[in-house]
Amino acid sequence: MSEKFPELDQVKITVDPATRDRHLAAIADAVRSSRRGRRPMRLLAVAATLVLLLPVMALAAERAVPGDLLYPIKQLFEPAARVFDSDISARHRVEEVETLLDRDAPSDVIHDHLQVARDTVTDEAQDDDLAVLTDRLDRAHRDLLDREREHDHTQPTDDGDDAPRHTETTTTTVAPTDSTRPPRDG
């Protein structure tokens, strides 16, 4: 009882059982719907994030080469992209060899990837692209051999002999010609 204002006691009420039941039913409904609504909302949020992120990731991975963090993502998207563009894998492998060369990657890495690229081009390139891609690979190979030769010239030998050292490459199939790199296609 309020000592200062006894009149206020008439404001104090007790919730009757019918009202209590009605309120508790409404609370239980709210609990049920909040549980129901939570999972689809989460799934929707994850799906929306993926939908927004996938094109960004695919775009970012487009220029990835072996050894890059995004390279597996590029490989992941390739089978789907091949449905619309049957040459995409062959073209990607050739571009990767060229990018590795531009980045001055270790020779053994480029040689390995050159072999992978040749296999892919042979297996997957369409007739009209086959010649162009093979040509690009040959040029890349020549560039690689030039680079190795230049490297050998500048490296001092252990026995003091400054004569050019012969480099043995098992994959040498195209004879290198001039030292200036011709412009690439595409």
């Binding site: 009882m1 009420i13 919730v15 309120h23 409404a26 609370i27 909040s34 549980r35």
Partner: protein
């Protein structure tokens, strides 16, 4: 959890006697509320429903609307529960705040609704339980004389029995401002009621 327990039930309301952190009856239910446990909401409802409804009734002078506002406050609590931070005392303050906002919304709705003159309403078909729930017109007028903050303060203090600090928490003001509001509301209420209290 608080290190010391110093609580005493005063007029059915648990109040802290000093600044020492005291445990609150709702403390043990907060975890369940956050996890949206139906049992926890039921227990909170059983502890709080009478006080919340009384407060809303004093604010609105209409029992049915007061009950609706309390129900809505609990539905809002269910929605906000996972994000709720605080102890039992904070939960109690949250509920009073929510009911207060519900009452303020109802004021706004009423102000938009056209007034129907009392003498044009036929005096038939009014259920006896509704008549029984009506406030004494003198008290209703006295409460209507207060602004919404003063009305909230005086009801929280004298009907629910909250401390000045708890009133401050519900009104979202400093303790000093809450005490000043309570004092002003008491003076005005006493004057309107005839000063016999």
């Amino acid at each position: 959890m608080p290190s010391a327990t110093l609580t005493l039930p005063v007029e059915g309301v648990w109040m802290s006697r000093s600044t020492v952190a005291a445990s609150h009856p709702l403390d043990s239910l907060v975890t369940g509320v956050r996890a949206r446990s139906n049992d926890a909401f039921k227990a909170v409802y059983d502890q709080m429903a009478d006080d919340l409804t009384s407060f809303a009734y004093g604010m609105l002078a209409d029992r049915r609307t007061a009950e609706d506002v309390v129900q809505q406050a609990f539905v809002e609590l269910v929605k906000a529960a996972p994000r709720f931070k605080g102890d039992g005392k904070a939960l109690r303050a949250w509920l009073f705040k929510s009911v207060r906002f519900g009452c303020l919304d109802e004021y706004r709705r009423r102000s938009r609704r056209p007034e129907i003159p009392h003498d044009s309403v036929p005096d038939v078909g009014v259920a006896s339980d509704l008549l029984a729930d009506q406030l004494d017109p003198r008290l209703e007028t006295a409460l209507a004389e207060l602004n919404s903050r003063q009305r909230s303060a005086v009801l929280l203090r004298h009907v629910v029995g909250l401390s000045g600090e708890e009133v401050a928490q519900v009104l979202g003001v400093s303790r000093k401002a809450a005490y000043a509001t309570i004092a002003r509301a008491e003076r005005r209420l006493r004057a309107t009621l005839g000063g016999e209290s």
